[in-house]
Structures are given as structure tokens and as C-alpha cells.
């Protein structure tokens, strides 16, 4: 198998697939499919980070790449790229992005004469819902979810990132649904019937204490804890 088109590496929470920035796209996708199909049982279910380097990948190419992976039951979770075009394509497809794979190393920093004083924030993607989610409604997002309203019992929010409810949370909230246990759930009135963060699950305590203060739920020592949000 030619190694010049792509490399596949195992990383802590999935696969990192680095694509050659110069090779023809068709060759890359053909090679990728062949490499995966070769060890399909091994790759199946994997969460994939794709590094496209400086190649500008238009949305339709990224869509077909994602479809290629999904047909093999793999999830395209993150796109890493130096190209703004590629990052924009990924954002449009609701895929998480990172502009560079690793933080600049110390020696790189030294090369910079002056570090920017006010570096631009790398925003993250999410959805904003400006109404109350009633029983039976479900919201899925590959990013964060903000609800400006209540989440009633029987409604569900499933997000790869954080969940913020500017209202009463009474339904089910699953933050970090793709395994991110640093995700949090915040609500002005936290009384969900179930909370999930990553693969941790907790149910509402039977003594329904009603705290009128905003609260935040996160994972500490392998347990979901809820504390004052201040």
C-alpha cells in the first residue's frame, strides 16, 4: 500500500488520518477506502480525526469523504486543517474543527518576534434554540447547544460539546456525547430527569431539592457532580 497518500495512526480516542496535501484527491479517497476495507473489523466504529494539512477541501469533497467513512461505520469527528476553505466546509457540515493539530511548540514560539497581544478567539460551533423544547423534541448537535427557553420533561438534547439552558432543564441532557468528559451542562434551574456527560449517567435525586440558583454539572472523579454556577 502506498504510504505517500495518507497515514493512519491510532490516537488516544480514535484514529488520526493524515492526508497528503498535494496528492490527487481521487487517489487519496481510493487509497483510504482500500486501506480501511483491508482491516474493516478493526476500524469499524472508530472516531476519526482527519488532517488535511494545507489542502483546501470544498464542501462536496468533505461530504463524500464523510459518507465514505460512514458507510464503513466510522465517524468523522474532527477536521484539522490549515486551510480556511477546509475549515469552513467542515463547519458547514457541523463537523468539529481544529486549525492545527498540536499546539505550537515552545521553540516555534521563540521564532515569533512578538506574540499577538489579542489573538483572535478560535470560535467553536453550536446551535442556538430560542424557544422552549417540549416533550418529544430532540436536538442533536456535533457542537454545543444553547437553549434560550426551557427544556421540558420528555425532551432530549444530545451534543458533542456543552449544553447551556437559559431556563429550566427538566428533560434529558447528554453533553460530550462523542466521549468528551470535560463537557458541561449548565442551567438556570437544574432539575433534569437524567443527565449524561460522556459515558457517565446520573438520574435526578429522589428528594427533589429545588435550587433556584443556576447550576453546572461536570464530571469529577468519574462521577457527575452538580454545583452552583457562579
Amino acid at each position: 500500500m502506498p504510504d505517500d497518500t495518507l497515514t493512519i495512526k491510532g490516537v488516544n480516542d480514535g484514529l488520526l488520518i493524515t492526508l497528503s496535501p498535494t496528492e490527487q484527491w481521487e487517489r487519496i479517497t481510493t487509497d483510504l477506502a482500500a486501506r480501511i476495507d483491508d482491516k474493516l473489523d478493526f476500524f469499524r466504529g472508530a472516531k476519526v480525526t482527519i488532517d488535511t494539512g494545507e489542502r483546501p477541501v470544498p464542501k462536496y469533497e468533505l461530504t463524500s469523504l464523510r459518507a465514505l467513512l460512514e458507510r464503513r461505520q466510522m465517524l468523522l469527528a474532527v477536521v484539522v486543517s490549515e486551510s480556511q476553505t477546509t475549515l469552513a466546509s467542515a463547519t458547514a457540515l457541523d463537523i468539529r474543527t481544529r486549525s492545527t493539530l498540536v499546539a505550537p511548540r515552545a521553540e516555534d514560539a521563540e521564532h515569533d518576534d512578538v506574540a499577538p497581544i489579542d489573538p483572535e478567539e478560535q470560535g467553536t460551533i453550536g446551535v442556538m434554540i430560542r424557544r422552549t423544547l417540549r416533550s418529544g423534541r430532540t436536538v442533536h448537535s456535533r457542537g454545543h447547544v444553547v437553549v434560550y427557553g426551557d427544556v421540558n420533561a420528555g425532551a432530549k438534547i444530545i451534543a458533542a460539546g456543552d449544553i447551556i439552558v437559559w431556563g429550566k432543564l427538566r428533560g434529558m441532557a447528554h453533553a460530550g456525547a462523542e466521549g468528551d468528559t470535560t463537557a458541561v451542562v449548565c442551567a438556570l434551574d437544574m432539575s433534569p430527569n437524567q443527565l449524561r456527560i460522556g459515558d457517565h449517567i446520573t438520574t435526578a435525586p429522589p428528594d427533589k431539592r429545588r435550587s433556584n440558583r443556576p447550576e453546572i454539572a461536570c464530571v469529577k472523579d468519574d462521577h457527575i457532580v452538580v454545583e452552583a454556577w457562579s
Binding site: L133, S135, N152
Partner: protein, 265 residues
């Protein structure tokens, strides 16, 4: 102008949709309005029973939709209130015999000749519910002060919002003020807090309702019934009057008062 189409629905069964429809129909007719009630619960009809009109059914809603009868032929006139009519549901078919478009068409034909078209929705959120809601200008959601009924009402309100039928208004049926006082039943404010919806009426639990429905003389016609008064008030609110919600404290009996006197409260 023409008639206002008001659909009565709930999600959960057994909360009092048909009772509410029947009583609102009578109450509106007593206010001098021209009213037609449509039972949209095809296959499980019972509005005709509550109205005491069961024996006079010749044609039903499905007959109209399938062209076996004219709309007027299927309308049963109430004996006491000649301006009150019922189009009964078919008992033999199921909800798929009628489509939302059929319901809109029927209501449009009736609009010019009536003030109110009341549609009694079946329980559930499937076809029958969609049929009942399709022509609605206004939706009344009946619920009981218990968690499961409120949960279903919430689901229904969400579906109504999705179909741009507005949030609707709430009728809180079968409230027992004494249980609310003891903290054993959701209070009206608990329910509005959960649903975030305006309450158009609170109907207290009343032992007179069931015998009235069984005998085909809805409880609104009994002026001593507190539930009847509540339904009359809702009808007046539907006509645009401002009627304050009634005082829900149960009238104290003589012995209760006596007991209170002696216990020194």
C-alpha cells in the same frame, strides 16, 4: 368573518375532552350562539352519547366525506337548542377514513352559517389528532392536574407549535381544591409553570358530571353544578367576555363550620 373553529384536544385519553366539548357546545348555545360540534373520534365515538343524541344518528362524518350523505343530513339538531348541531363520528371505521383536508373542507362549508365549530379530538397524536387540529383557529388543551396528563399536554402543545396552530389555551379539568391544599395534587400555578400556557378555565371535580354524561344531559344544564358553572364561564370567555376564574374553595358544610367553631380555628 364566519365561524370560529375551536378544537378540543389533550394527548392523553380520559381527561375529559368529550365532556368539555359537549358542555361548551351547550353553554355556547345557551348564550345564543349557533354551534356545530364535530366528533372527530372515528371508531370510538361518544360525543353523541354524552349529548343524548345517539338514537337519532342516521349519517355520520365518514358518510359525508365519502359522499353518501349531504353535510346537512348528517347534522343532528339538539331538541332543546335548535341552534346546536352535532356531526357524529362513524363507529365502524378508523381515523384514516378522513383526512385533514376533508376536515378543512367541511369546516369551510360550515363557517358562514355558524358562530362556533367545536371539534372533539381523539386521544393520541396520530391521524385523528391531525384531522381534528387541521381546521382549527383556536385549540383548547384539556388536562388534569396530574403529571402524566400534563406531560402529554406538553407534547401536544409542542406539536401544535410545530404546525403553527399557536400554543393554544389550557383547560384544567377535574381539579380537587382540597387535595391541592394538602399538596397532593398539582395546583393551577404548578401546571402553568410546567406548560407556560394561559389557562382559559379551571373545572373543579364534580360528582354531578358522570351521571349527567350518562343520561345525555350535560352538566352545564344543571345550574347548581360547580363544574357546570366553570364550563359556562369558559364559553363566555370564548365569546370574548372577561370572566374571572371562580373561587375554588369548596363551600363548607354546616358540620365543618361547626367543627371549626369548636376547634377554635
Amino acid at each position: 368573518m364566519g365561524a370560529k373553529v375551536v378544537t378540543v384536544t389533550s394527548g392523553k385519553g380520559g381527561v375529559g375532552k368529550s365532556t368539555t366539548t359537549a358542555n361548551l357546545g351547550i353553554a355556547l348555545a345557551r348564550l345564543g350562539k349557533k354551534v356545530v360540534m364535530i366528533d372527530a373520534d372515528i371508531g370510538l365515538r361518544n360525543l353523541d352519547v354524552i349529548m343524548g343524541l345517539e338514537n337519532r344518528i342516521v349519517y355520520d362524518l365518514v358518510d359525508v366525506v365519502e359522499g353518501r350523505s349531504k353535510l346537512r343530513q348528517a347534522m343532528i339538531k339538539h331538541k332543546q337548542f335548535p341552534d346546536l348541531h352535532l356531526i357524529p363520528a362513524a363507529q365502524t371505521r378508523d381515523k384514516t377514513a378522513v383526512s385533514p383536508a376533508d376536515m378543512i373542507q367541511i369546516c369551510n362549508k360550515l363557517r358562514d352559517d355558524f358562530d362556533f365549530i367545536l371539534i372533539d379530538s381523539p386521544a393520541g397524536i396520530e391521524r385523528g389528532f391531525r384531522n381534528a387540529v387541521a381546521p382549527a383557529d383556536r385549540v383548547l388543551i384539556v388536562t388534569n392536574p396530574e403529571v402524566s396528563a400534563v406531560r402529554d399536554a406538553d407534547r401536544v402543545i409542542g406539536l401544535l407549535e410545530a404546525e403553527n396552530k399557536g400554543p393554544g389555551q389550557l383547560i384544567l379539568n377535574r381539579l380537587k381544591p382540597a387535595m391541592v391544599k394538602r399538596g397532593e395534587m398539582l395546583s393551577p400555578s404548578d401546571v402553568t409553570d410546567l406548560l407556560g400556557l394561559e389557562i382559559i378555565g379551571i373545572v373543579p371535580e364534580d360528582d354531578l358530571v358522570i351521571p349527567a354524561s350518562n343520561s345525555g344531559v350535560p352538566v352545564t344544564l344543571n345550574d347548581t353544578s360547580r363544574a357546570g358553572i366553570a364550563f359556562n364561564n369558559i364559553a363566555r370567555r370564548l365569546c370574548g367576555e372577561t370572566v374571572p376564574l371562580m373561587n375554588l374553595d369548596e363551600p363548607e358544610g354546616f358540620f365543618k363550620r361547626l367543627a371549626r367553631l369548636f376547634s377554635g380555628n
